[in-house]
Amino acid sequence: MPKTPLARIAESLWGDADENAVSSIIKGDDRLTSEQRLSIYQGSVRSILINTLKSTFPVCEQLVGSEFFNAMAARFIKDKPSIDFDLDAYGEGFADFILSFSPAKQIPYLADVARLEWYWQQAILAPVSEPIDVVILNESIMDSHCHETIFKPPKYIAYLASSYPINKIWAMHQKEDAELVSLDEGGVQLVIFRTSIPLIISLTPEQWHLMNALRRGLCFEALLCDFEQCYSADKFADNFASLCKQGLITQDPQQTFHSR
């Protein structure tokens, strides 16, 4: 069956087809040939995706500069065209792509920053999770069956561990007069989630351990046992309270989480 004009244009937009073949289906004139007319669309389709990546990964662009970012984005979109109507869904694999993009290896934390930016955008688009009510929390803990209670993290939460202080690198690029960050500060364990606004929180090792136990759906008693295997039981209450205070224990059932 012969291809329709639209099918032939679709192929040509990514340069899959012989552009000369397009001249038989597109009208050209003395101002612009049919190939030049098609190339206006080829350019705009690429720019839309590159601009989408720039909008989702602004800190990455600042870190490498526009020229480098454009080249990196162009390589990415060649391999990964958009397959979803939702442009907010475009760029999910960008951090992994950066890891494999050899010119970016000079900035070893770039992929992790990209991952942080991706999770940040998803948090903006996620529904709010209400932090657990203190009264309900107290009742749950005072209850004789409290050992069976399963506490939940927010509906949307991303877990991100990095060998670099990426939260500070990210924060440094949110305002002009921010302090410089030393890579010697070492790694971080972050959660990205949403209360009334999106938040990035750096957790202590104890809190990170607790959050990871929570996401495994452990009941309160199992949570405590699990904690005691690595840390002193004395630290449990303070760390659990701190997570509650930061909105990381909610009343909603967990729907999604991502981790790295």
Binding site: I9, D29, L32, V45, F85
Partner: protein, 279 residues
């Protein structure tokens, strides 16, 4: 769907709702008759963009305008998109829901660009069928907008106005007439924009769009990144004179200026509209 052209409560000149202005709108509540929100930006249930849109809806009439319906594509309609759009419509209760007479996707990917259609009778019939399905699913009429194009097909057997009118008539949908696109196409394809006056059914035109283009010398590029050009203002006055005081929208999508500057353009359109009403 019955052959009914219903009226909705938007009047005057509205403004395209854009991110850089939202905080100002939420704090100052400026006197703007209505806003047009880009539906595709608000499809995440409960997300921050949708929360802000709900707040704005509490104070202003809204219309929804989409890009990714891909009404002219050859693949089946994307049911996930339609489902999300319907949920947004139910939440926002917009005066009108519109998209473009174009295609933006094929079976492999989304281009997110408004691509031209081949104006044939066969395509008219295919799109009528798709528009009917969309309207049945959404339970309401939609508006389809004429797009800016940079090429036309050798196989076209009618002009864009005949194509648009036949689709609208056959599917009982309504028309969003973009006056800037009309001018851009007349330049890019050396056609007479006023041909539409003899073709489009006045009763179906429910919105005008106005925006700015970039002159690339060989062609005009529909960037929505500049004030409305004098040529387009001139054409707009002719459209008002012929089609009446149709609710009009100022769109600005790139190099977005202050809200005040967009409002200035809206005020200018309002003045032309008042002239038209008083004439």
């Amino acid at each position: 769907m019955a052959n009914v052209i219903c009226e909705r409560p938007i009047h005057g000149v509205g403004i395209g709702l854009r991110d850089p202005h939202i905080q100002q709108i939420l704090t100052e509540w400026p006197k703007i008759p209505w806003f047009e929100a880009l539906s595709d930006n608000y499809l995440h249930p409960g997300g921050m963009p949708q929360e802000r849109l709900i707040k704005i809806r509490e104070h202003y009439p809204l219309v929804l305008h989409g890009v990714n319906l891909s009404i002219g594509a050859e693949e089946p309609l994307n049911q996930t998109y339609l489902k999300k759009l319907k949920a947004l419509i139910d939440l926002i209760e917009p005066a009108w829901v519109s998209d473009h007479l174009c295609w933006v996707s094929d079976e492999r990917q989304y281009f997110h660009e408004l691509l031209p259609l081949c104006f044939t009778q066969e395509k008219v019939m295919a799109i009528i069928d798709r528009v009917k399905k969309v309207q049945d699913y959404l339970g309401r009429q939609i508006l389809l907008e004429n797009i800016s194009t940079y090429f036309t097909f050798a196989a076209d057997d009618m002009n864009e106005w005949e194509f648009l009118q036949q689709v609208a008539e056959g599917s009982d949908c309504l028309i969003l007439l973009d006056v800037n696109n009309m001018y851009v196409n007349s330049y890019n394809h050396r056609t007479d924009p006023l041909v539409c006056l003899n073709v489009l059914d006045k009763r179906r035109i429910k919105q005008f769009h106005l925006a700015g283009f970039e002159d690339c010398l060989t062609h005009l590029l529909d960037t929505h990144g500049a004030p409305v050009s004098s040529h387009v203002w001139e054409l707009y006055q002719k459209m008002l004179a012929h089609y009446g005081a149709v609710p009009t929208l100022i769109e600005w999508d790139t190099n977005i200026p202050s809200l005040a500057e967009v409002v200035e353009q809206a005020d200018k359109a309002s003045a032309f509209m008042v002239e038209c009403i008083n004439a």
